[in-house]
């Protein structure tokens, strides 16, 4: 019984992990139809922000929850102004440009910090005991943060003026701009918000995985699969796809081992996209955001 409970917790953590690494990408893709291939590097930059900050004696919670999203959000803002804003509606060009950007970030970070794993920060919370089993308290905290984050995005989109304008832009940007909304400004805000969420995610994961200049590559594949499987609705898409793929991965990893866990995740995504080419939210929850 304890085992199942602690396994369930593990699966929920897997789901939260997927949602966390995908949310930033989903915001940018869902709102702007921009596929950001530098998404993994935004995560990586969030991780490095935390490492540098804590090594300089800044409180770890402050670095993870405030500094990482702030720094990466700012980087996102600069990237949007300098690069992305000239490329709206040109998907292939955006792909190429953001891919180049990702290589640039890896190069810069490698030349500053070296190509090796850095960080000696440990997950700053104790352990949770469930019967005979122990789980990391930090994983529990991470699940909590993801729920708060999803709620925050939901409330912002649903109940604030910014959310209303953003949804209008998302549904029909031409009409929105006819009605006097500066869509360029909305895109700018959205992109930096997406970057900030990615930064937060990277910062949260840094104590668990350590950071490497090319750690983004580990995340980007899974983040993409989750976002594409989820479809265009940011919240419902990310959440439903994370739950599905995260559970499949968690259960299969437990039953057979990590290799088949990954295979099962990818296999599920392929089947899903064959049956629902526009993702889960292309078929269900169509009215959601």
């Amino acid at each position: 019984m304890d085992l199942y409970f602690s396994l369930l917790l593990q699966i929920i953590y897997g789901v939260a992990n997927l949602a966390l690494i995908s949310l930033g990408l989903a915001i940018v893709f869902g709102m702007m139809r921009v596929i950001n291939l530098a998404h993994g590097e935004f995560l990586m930059l969030g991780g490095y922000t935390v490492v540098v900050a804590t090594n300089n004696g800044i409180n770890i919670w402050f670095s993870i929850l405030i500094l990482a999203p702030l720094v990466v959000g700012l980087i996102g803002l600069i990237v949007e102004r300098c690069l992305i804003q000239w490329l709206y509606g040109r998907m292939i060009d955006t792909l190429l440009a953001t891919w180049g950007l990702s290589l640039l970030f890896i190069g810069i970070i490698t030349s500053i910090f070296g190509a090796s794993t850095s960080t000696v920060i440990s997950p700053p919370l104790g352990t949770i005991t469930i019967g005979d089993y122990t789980s990391s308290g930090y994983e529990l905290f991470l699940i909590f943060v993801v729920i708060v984050l999803l709620l925050f995005v939901f409330l912002t989109l649903k109940f604030t003026a910014l959310g209303l304008v953003a949804r209008a832009t998302m549904q029909n940007s031409d009409m929105a701009s006819c009605l006097g909304i500066s869509t360029s400004k909305i895109y700018m805000i959205t992109f930096s918000l997406g970057a900030a969420v990615s930064g937060l995610a990277g910062g949260l994961l840094a104590p668990l995985t350590g950071v490497l200049p090319n750690i983004g590559a580990i995340y980007i594949g899974k983040a993409f699969i989750t976002v594409i499987s989820g479809g265009s609705a940011i919240l419902a898409g990310t959440t439903s796809a994370s739950i599905l793929l995260g559970s499949v991965n968690g259960v299969m990893s437990y039953v057979t081992g990590p290799t088949f866990g990954e295979v099962a995740l990818l296999f599920t995504a392929i089947i899903l996209l064959r049956l629902m080419p526009t993702g889960i939210t292309g078929r269900f929850f169509r009215k959601s955001q």
Partner: protein, 418 residues
């Protein structure tokens, strides 16, 4: 033969064209620098191993050159970075052998990379040193494997850890030939010592989420974990394991932890109590080693990485090769191989090592150590251990014309019960 204009032109042209080549060859043959090529990953996931190895190799070559080189010739070191990618390994090995005409190549970290370049270097008849600890089983006249092998290290590590912690062993290993074959050795030694290898699990090199496995380890009620995990991403296993509080209840012994200086990457609380066995630790208490460590730190300054078996052995292997060149009186391949196999010994920081001629491996000292506060306390040491694993399957004295990896299809295929 009558000399006409056409003939005259042909002869002189050939002579003019050939002259520089002849001079060049004569020059390179015995007067130019001796070419020492090193191919080691300095970026990508394997950089945690490669960078200290490169630093130690550079130090060895610099020291040799400072003391007048070899046979009165300078040693020219050329270093390639294959970026943790196998495809670059084959490319650089070909370049080293065919392009640079290297006298010796010291290369390879993972067993996968070794198997990618070993045939190439054999084919080009270029002397090859592999200086990483590995799973044993290479039987190749052209290839000297100087790292420790499971019969030297794992054979001591497993009974020591089992005696201390218990008989049920959970094995986690990297998902390529090193991890698979090492996991088989671990299972064999666990069974030989009356234990039970409850489960074996393999991880691709880019896996960072070990949550499900940690739950499985708890559910298996194992007494201890043996880890043969490899590379930067796998370091997160030790973090997540400690975060779940497991390192206190089900301790870890490892065949790889520490050679990438992982003990400096994770905190003291996360690593304390782990047990490892290698042929070298920075903490070895001998005059030769203290001097070596001091020279290395002086040379590298504040950013000096910790020294481990891979780095120290890269240094020692360069000197073993140099001893053989001196003994042979030439850097040519066959005389050097013969000199190496004639029982060349070298007193390095790890103690005395010498070439075991049946396998082209090393007889070497082995040390068992426990991790405490990010450094290893040596608890046992064993003098001059032979590579008995490879000796079971390889005899280059009886059959010198070999270039095979005997454990390619696992231990069972090589006739070893696990």
């Amino acid at each position: 033969m009558s000399m006409n204009r056409r003939n005259f032109l042909r002869t002189t042209a050939t002579a003019t064209l050939a002259a520089p080549a002849l001079i060049n060859q004569a020059f390179a043959g015995s007067h130019g620098p001796i070419k020492f090529v090193s191919i080691l990953d300095q970026s990508g996931g394997l950089d945690i191993y490669g960078k200290p190895m490169v630093d130690a190799t550079k130090m060895a070559i610099d020291e040799m050159n400072e003391s007048g080189g070899l046979l009165g010739r300078e040693i020219e070191l050329k270093i390639y970075d294959p970026q943790s990618s196998i495809q670059f390994y084959t490319q650089f090995a070909t370049q080293a052998a065919a392009g640079d005409k290297a006298d010796v190549v010291h290369a390879g970290i993972t067993s996968a990379s070794r198997e990618a370049i070993r045939p190439t270097l054999s084919r080009y008849e270029t002397l090859y040193f592999y200086n990483t600890l590995y799973e044993g089983g290479v039987c190749d006249m052209n290839n000297f494997c100087t790292g420790s092998t499971p019969a030297q290290t794992v054979e001591k590590l497993v009974p020591y850890a089992m005696k201390k912690w218990g008989k049920k062993v959970y094995i986690v290993a990297a998902d390529y030939n090193y991890g698979h074959i090492t996991a088989e050795w671990v299972q064999k030694y666990v069974r030989d010592n009356g234990g039970d290898p409850v489960e074996v699990e393999f991880f691709p090199l880019d896996v960072t989420n070990f949550g499900p496995t940690i739950k499985k380890i708890q559910a298996s009620k194992a007494d201890m974990v043996m880890s043969a995990l490899v590379g930067g991403a796998h370091v997160s296993f030790y973090r997540q394991y400690a975060a779940a509080g497991m390192n206190k209840s089900v301790p870890v012994a490892s065949t790889t932890f520490g050679v990438g200086n992982e003990h400096k990457l994770i905190s003291a609380e996360e690593g304390d109590g782990m047990i490892c066995a290698y042929s070298y630790f920075e903490e070895i208490d001998s005059v030769a080693n203290k001097d070596f460590v001091a020279r290395f730190k002086a040379r590298m300054g504040d950013g000096a990485p910790a020294l481990n078996e891979l780095a120290a052995r890269s240094y020692e292997a360069a000197f073993i090769w140099a001893e053989a060149v001196k003994a042979a009186g030439t850097a040519d391949r066959m005389p050097v191989i013969e000199a190496l196999r004639s029982g060349i010994a070298y007193d390095g920081p790890s103690g005395r090592v010498d070439i075991e001629p049946k396998t082209n491996h090393l007889n070497q000292n082995v040390y068992l150590a426990e991790l405490k506060d990010q450094s290893f306390n040596i608890v046992e040491s064993y003098q001059s251990q032979p590579p008995t694993d490879t000796l079971m399957v390889c005899d280059l004295v009886a059959n010198p014309d070999q270039s095979v990896f005997k454990f390619e299809n696992g231990l069972k295929a090589a006739g070893i019960d696990i």
